[in-house]
Symmetry: C2
């Protein structure tokens, strides 16, 4: 598999050097592997820190900025960052109002963020944590005990980030972040496997004419493999899998997310099918976001994330955000 890289070993620091050059509004520490708002710490504001393996861009570094994250800690590809990164991030962004760690549910991330929380608290930083575990496809995967954290991470980071920007305290930001995480479910499909730079070949073998249902974001196997389906059939399957677990009784936020290798043109068409299914199931869609946001390198495919929302969550979703990866209304 051909890649636009120099050598596999330097893909992550090379990308961070590029981020630093393209985004002067961020402080990118290539050595320590940190992406931080340049104006951090923001006085009087609870800070949000997230992170995880690289390969899911723009998540998380691309979500650093006003109205979303204060800092992100990128690990190696599909590999958790280390506690030192998280402790440095917390120290860089804490204004004294405390720090919320947004953690996707993968074994390494959970352990490292737990350790970092203890270390940061030893240094006098108040830390709260929220665990994102929205993927209904599989329980216990190669990388996870319990459900995987995927697309809902964007909802948690955006909504909790907006609440923190409005000046809410740490307990309140943590509670709303948890509400969003608990109210969100995802399901993804792959039309192709992804290729990591170090391996250089696809992470699993997906024959021509088949797709993988219930894929995660690390090239790990999904729930089942079937003969290729239409966009409409995939929407039926994915939305049904989400609704079976979510049981919304009111409006939802919808994320129609590309895995990295699927053109935006196809994602918009898939969005129309997702709306059709939700209409048939009498689920009102309050807002829809379409694009490549929580990706898996060059994987072709898409995921659907739905989040039950009330008036307050919707106002926070609509609030201004200005980051490299997500921007509106500011």
């Amino acid at each position: 598999m051909k890649m636009l890289i120099n050598v596999p070993e330097s893909v992550v620091p090379d990308a961070l050097r590029g981020m630093a050059l393209a985004h002067p509004e961020l402080t990118v520490d290539v050595e320590k592997r940190l992406v931080v708002r340049r104006d951090a710490p923001v006085a009087g504001k609870v800070a949000l820190v997230s992170g995880g393996g690289s390969g899911h861009e723009p998540l998380h570094g691309g979500f650093v900025g006003p109205g979303m994250l204060d800092a992100a800690c990128p690990g190696e590809i599909f590999t958790s960052p280390v506690p030192d990164q998280m402790v440095s991030a917390a120290a860089a962004v804490d204004s004294g109002e405390g720090v919320l760690f947004v953690v996707k549910n993968y074994t390494g991330d959970v352990l490292n963020f737990d350790m970092a929380a203890e270390l940061a608290e030893d240094e006098g930083v108040r830390v709260a944590k929220v665990l994102v575990q929205d993927d209904v496809a599989v329980t216990d995967s190669t990388f996870t005990a319990g459900r995987r954290g995927t697309g809902a991470t964007l909802f948690v980071e955006k909504i909790a980030g907006a609440l923190a920007a409005k000046g809410a305290g740490l307990e309140r930001v943590e509670a709303v972040a948890r509400q969003v995480a608990d109210s969100s479910r995802s399901f993804g499909v792959a039309l192709s496997a992804c290729t990591t730079p170090s391996k250089g070949t696809p992470t699993f073998d997906l024959p021509a004419g088949e797709l993988e249902l219930g894929i995660g974001i690390h090239g790990e196997p999904g729930r089942e493999r079937r003969a290729m389906m239409t966009s409409g059939e995939i929407a039926d399957f994915a939305v049904d899998a989400v609704l079976k677990d979510l049981h919304p009784d009111g409006p939802v936020l919808a994320l129609v997310n590309g895995m990295g290798g699927t053109p935006l043109l196809e994602l918009y068409g898939f969005c129309a099918e997702v709306h059709r299914v939700l209409g048939e199931r009498r689920v009102p869609v309050a807002r829809t976001l379409v694009g490549n946001y929580v990706t898996s390198l060059d994987m072709a495919g898409a995921s659907v994330t739905l989040c039950r929302v009330d008036e307050e969550l919707l106002r926070l979703w609509d609030a201004p955000v200005r980051t490299p990866g997500l921007c509106w209304g500011v």
Copy 2:
């Protein structure tokens, strides 16, 4: 090649239905194939209309909104829209201050926008046109007499859109659009060919271990084929090709653009190499944009576009923009 679609024939209208659902701030007419600002016509403002074949998303429909385009006309995939679309778009957005057509230099687009300009003027709309022809790779391609219009289209639409938003008249907006077009050059490379839904197989055959230098945005062949190169070698080649033609004597805007199938992680690493080469050539980079903006369906690869800028163009570049595909500072 597997795609997230229903049938090839309906890919464009399906995507437009999805755009309409995801973007209530736009008026999307699926029948007439138009994407228009919901608040159009904006009183007292020169309007910008662009369009071209689909398959390059977010270009052009994703660039409709405050600070950029007033309307876009999507054609079938890699096929010019028809004059009726452009005439309808002009009528929908003209406030009486006139309309600028931003036209990429492809034979079909040029003919159809010319015809539309005549028809619109017959209906009393003042129309100016700017031709974008920035690709230094080849002269006269499958689709073009002269140079192809590629990444510079984004620069023209953003900068002329900002000037129109500030209230400048049609002649001035046209002149600055032409200045940006004339001051911009691009060069692209492909690591894989793209696959159109109607054909279902790659548009050209690129063996494992080779890349195509000087690729366009329609899967047409490039300038030459070589054994796979590193990101640094590609940056050397692409930036040199652009600089040989552009001869900047001051700062440039840089667009490091993905062709659709290359992960953002790789694009940021490539951005670092593009900056390295520009530094070695003593070309100061005023601003850098990195991402998938002027794409070619699922093609893997990237292009570099540079634009010579003065203080005024930089201020217009930095001015607020709020569209689905490009947003900042608003």
